[in-house]
Amino acid sequence: MADSGPQFDLRELLTTTVVGELTLTQVPILSPDATAAEAAAAMRAVCHGSALICDAGRIVGIITERDLLGLLVDDSKVESPLSAVMTTAPQTLTQSALLFDAVRLMDQGGYRRLPVVDADDKPAGIVDVKTVVNFLVEQMAATVYNQAENSLLTVRQREGA
């Protein structure tokens, strides 16, 4: 293999970046009394697949597009109040948490999204797999954005006379 170029140390990047440095996704915030159907409409409006459920400004639950699947096939459940169908007390991160911890939680817990709270424990947004992947891609932009599919890189026929 050729000599390495500038070193990009993923572990160092993840352990020196805090969650608050990423562009957090702003998601709908609903009350526990709202219905799952209302949550779905709010999620569609912002093209995002989750919503936070808050009571008195604190996160009490989360509902995701995955949860909606189960509600749809179980007729009538889409009209249930969120308090009955949400995931209660979801794992959260503070804005000062390391990106390393966010990625580790995603790996261990199988989470795709983690709600982030500010110093006052108020919701600050969501960090999701896509946000993290896009952040990493930005760090490797020259490599990732200069890719072609393999079939375009392979000459199928001999060239020449």
Binding site: M1, A2, D3, S4, G5, P6, Q7, F8, D9, L10, R11, L14, A37, A40, A41, M43, R44, G49, E65, R66, L68, L69, G70, L72, V73, V78, F100, V103, R104, M106, D107, R112, V129, K130, V132, V133, N134, L136, V137, M140, A142, T143, V144, Y145, Q147, A148, E149, N150, S151, V155
Partner: protein, 171 residues
């Protein structure tokens, strides 16, 4: 090294290809170990999940039930076993939740048609490129006849990078 033009295997360190004369200098692959790795490795090294494929005539309700039962967020949709679309939980959110009648219609009416797809020998870097440019979370991997062989998710790639290059599972 193999000549990039004719594929001839040259002795290591050769300045030009012994067979076709192509210069072999100035070909250093740029970037760090992680960047070289995602260029060098095909998606087949991480595409461990067999895809869940269903025919496009299956009704939406049964498709969603399959997603619930299998705990997957994405189904590959086929016509005569050839990939014709993809049906994800995002399609359910955008197209099914506002329209209850859609539950009883064929999934082919509500899928995303002709999705971006990979071949098993495409690089991980190319998969990242396609996901990042288009905002896709899942990419089907197909064989030469466009039949689904696996599915790659952004989470698979994040996990691979985090475990392999950031040692995320230690300490």
């Amino acid at each position: 090294m193999n000549c990039p033009d004719c594929g001839h295997e040259n002795i290591p360190g050769a300045d030009s290809c012994e067979k076709c004369g192509q210069s072999l200098t100035g070909m250093q692959i740029p970037g760090s170990e992680i960047e070289q790795s995602i260029i060098a490795h095909p998606v087949s090294v991480l595409a461990t999940k067999a895809p869940f494929s269903i025919d496009q005539q299956v009704i939406v309700r049964d498709a969603i039930q399959t997603m619930v039962d299998r705990k997957v967020g994405c189904l590959l949709i086929t016509e005569d076993d050839v990939l014709s679309g993809i049906f994800t939980e995002r399609d359910v959110l955008n197209r099914i939740t506002p329209d209850p009648a859609a539950m009883e219609q064929p999934v082919g009416n509500h899928m995303s048609r002709t999705p971006a797809r990979l071949k098993a020998d495409d690089s991980i870097a190319y998969a990242l490129h396609t996901m990042s440019i288009n905002g896709y979370r899942h990419l089907p991997v197909v064989d030469a006849e466009d039949k689904p062989v696996s599915i790659v998710s952004s989470r698979d790639i994040l996990r691979l990078l985090a475990v392999r290059f950031a040692d995320i599972r230690s300490d």
